[in-house]
């Protein structure tokens, strides 16, 4: 779950990291009032994604009236696919220098990585690709805090000393505290700014909370709240992963690899997937029923392939769910099921009894071929 900039900055301030002064606004009037308090300001849309500056989501407002006007323009607009509901009105801080400070997870090594770069405000992945020597990194083993001296040892490699070094290092340790305390998978301050008086402030903030750890952080609500697309929101609610694509064949697969393989085989047969849907491990009757209906909602879908292996739960329940889902469709679509594993005979019997074609083969290509045959028969 990606936090909004103002949420991240609130967390930073609670941990003692300075940020520019700012106020949240959800109406032009609030933006005007904020600018009265703050003076010359920047109006920033609060959306859970990056690149909003280039997309026109950050505006300068030198007067309260201008702030209200910019807010009126931005509120309700759609930027990078998100309808703007919230703005952060922030004092215009003159940054003498922009730095990058971030923490992410090095998956292969299973450790957090602290990254610092004296050039901030840019996409760090690009900087790292072009000039890797400018991005200073250190691994932080799990289960302990980051000590300030460790951060200093990293940051001094970029040529900082004295009070600036100490300030940045302190912010780094606090950012790591946030990283651990809130189960973050990404914590970035980009840019981290140095003001004319030497103070170091977090001018922006990106924090992404591990969805699997949201149970420990009820203050953030469900990450489903952020999802605007109704199909994606429903998928979240069902508990499956749904990626909308632009083809004509719906896919339901019990596993990401199996689902991707099904996509690959569909394309090989000259068709294109309408979606990727991955059920996760614990398939229930209800989950399957809703998954079938979700996939069928895509306007281009002409047929559905259900590719299941029994695992955590009995496969019969999954088969019953498919039957429920198919029978509740407003109009009958071609559906082909491949369902193997524990209880495969019983599951296949349930499907056959409902008139749903079952491919009793380990080869997904056979299921794809069967669906294509049906589609072509139908269109012929």
């Amino acid at each position: 779950m990606r936090l909004l900039e103002y949420q991240g900055k609130e967390i930073l301030r609670r941990h003692g990291v300075a940020t520019p002064q700012g106020l949240v606004a959800t109406t032009p009037e609030q933006a005007r009032e904020a600018a009265v308090k703050l003076g010359p300001a920047v109006v920033k849309v609060q959306i859970p994604t990056g690149g909003r500056g280039k997309a026109g989501g950050i505006k300068v407002a030198d007067s309260p009236e201008e702030a209200a006007q910019r807010a009126a323009e931005l509120l309700g607009a759609t930027i990078k696919g998100f309808e703007v509901e919230t703005l952060l009105v922030e004092e215009k801080a003159a940054l003498e220098q922009e730095l990058y400070l971030g923490i992410t997870i090095a998956n292969r090594h299973g450790v957090a990585v602290l990254m610092f770069c004296a050039s901030g405000g840019m996409d760090i992945e690009e900087v790292a690709a072009k000039t890797p020597e400018l991005v200073h990194k250190m691994e932080i083993p799990p289960g302990r805090k980051l000590e300030e001296y460790e951060a200093r040892n990293l940051i001094r490699k970029a040529g900082f000393t004295g009070k600036t070094l100490v300030q940045i290092a302190t912010i780094a340790t606090k950012l790591y505290q946030c990283f651990c305390e809130y189960d973050l998978v990404v914590a970035e301050i980009n840019p981290l700014g140095i003001l004319a008086d030497g103070r170091v402030v977090a001018a922006d903030c990106k924090m992404e909370v591990d969805d699997n750890a949201l149970f420990r952080h009820s203050e953030f609500g469900s990450d489903g709240d952020q999802i605007r697309d109704p199909l994606a929101r429903e998928a979240k609610d069902i508990g499956v992963t749904y990626v909308k694509l632009d083809g004509d064949i719906g896919i339901i697969a019990s596993g990401a690899g199996l689902g991707m393989n099904t996509m690959d085989l569909i394309q090989e047969k000259g068709h294109r997937p309408a979606n990727f849907l991955e059920t996760g491990g614990g398939i229930t009757r209800e989950l399957m029923r809703r998954a079938v209906q979700l996939v069928a909602k895509h306007e281009q879908v002409r047929g559905i392939i259900v590719n299941l292996y029994g695992g955590v739960n009995p496969l019969v329940a999954a088969a019953e769910g498919v039957v429920d889902g198919v029978e509740a469709l407003p109009e009958r679509l071609p559906v082909v099921v491949k369902a193997l594993g524990n209880q495969q005979e019983e599951a296949q019997a349930v499907l056959k009894a409902a008139g749903i074609p079952v491919v009793n083969s380990v080869r997904t290509e056979d299921a794809v071929a069967e669906l294509v045959r049906q589609l072509e028969g139908r269109s012929a």
């Binding site: 750890a213 990401a256 199996l258 689902g259 690959d264």
Partner: protein, 288 residues
């Protein structure tokens, strides 16, 4: 023979008394797996399908000589359960649960490595040595005893691969689902090394996925192996930047594509299958 899960494996089931734990315990027993105890704190003294349940892993080790475990506990309790088994000296831990917080997985990976414990997963279907036993959720009927080792990041896709291997008359020595999460216990080379030294494994099939760099990093080890490795990477047609599946397979900033991984593996001497259907032919080219 087989790797990791062998005839000497005496396993416990952590969370055996739960709904899923009970079903899976039965299926593992039915497959012939030596399940010697269940462990659920607070349920000590009960039984599951005739298997005694203890409050603590240490007690199951003392009384039943357990040396491995498979977990069916809710994700939020998984960290504590795995730490308990590491501390109790178990040498093989199969962490089935998905949705374990990644900060927990980081700690578990570090703790297991510090103690020299095999941590398989999290978010793994588990490990099966056909004819000997299985620790995990894979359906036993999908596998046959044989001499091909299988390593898979993907869960169910590995079953499909096993089907092709079986149809071609090979069968599997051991199939290891290393786990689909971003942070997992095993590194692929560690498992390749086990297959390399297993006298009853003739070749290894590696089933990868787009995203990350695990396959690329494995290439270095594959280059020095004597046994043939056949690799298949799923996700050829996945759109870049979209997260394919709960565990986060995605192509990021142009890295981790099927092409990248295939190139690295080919250069290391692995035979790269363009489709799963090609795997048997590639195995035959080396073994027959």
């Amino acid at each position: 023979m087989s790797i990791l899960l062998t005839k000497d494996t005496r396993a416990i089931v952590q969370g055996a008394t739960g709904r899923i734990g009970q079903v899976q315990t039965r299926w593992m027993l039915e497959y012939g797996t030596k399940i010697v105890a269940g462990v659920t704190p607070g349920q000590g003294g009960s039984t599951v399908h005739g298997v005694p349940v203890y409050d603590n892993v240490a007690e199951a080790v003392e009384k039943e000589g357990a040396n491995a475990t498979v977990l069916f506990v809710p994700a939020r309790f998984a960290k504590s359960a795995v730490l308990e088994s590491i501390d109790a000296g178990l040498k093989l831990i199969v962490a089935v649960p998905e949705h374990i917080p990644v900060h927990d997985s980081m700690e578990l990976r570090a703790a297991a490595r510090a103690k020299g414990t095999w941590l398989i997963g999290p978010n793994t279907p588990g490990i099966i040595s056909p004819g000997i036993g299985k620790l995990g959720i894979m359906p036993g009927n999908m596998f046959q005893p044989g001499r091909i080792g299988v390593i898979s990041r993907s869960g169910t896709l590995a079953y499909e691969v096993a089907g092709y291997i079986n149809d071609a008359g090979f069968g599997e020595s051991t199939l290891v689902g290393i786990g689909g999460d971003p942070v997992i216990g095993p590194d692929i080379p560690d498992i390749l090394a086990e297959f390399e030294k297993d006298p009853e494994t003739d070749a290894v099939v590696l089933v990868g996925e787009i995203g990350g760099s695990a396959e690329e990093e494995a290439a270095g080890y594959i280059a020095q192996m004597k046994k043939p490795v056949v690799a298949y990477i799923a996700g050829r047609t996945a759109p870049p930047g979209r997260r394919m599946g709960h565990a986060g397979a995605s192509i990021r900033a142009g890295q981790g594509t099927v092409a990248d991984k295939s190139r690295a593996l080919s250069e290391a001497g692995a035979l790269v299958a363009q489709a799963i259907a090609d795997i048997p032919r590639l195995l035959e080219s080396k073994l027959k």
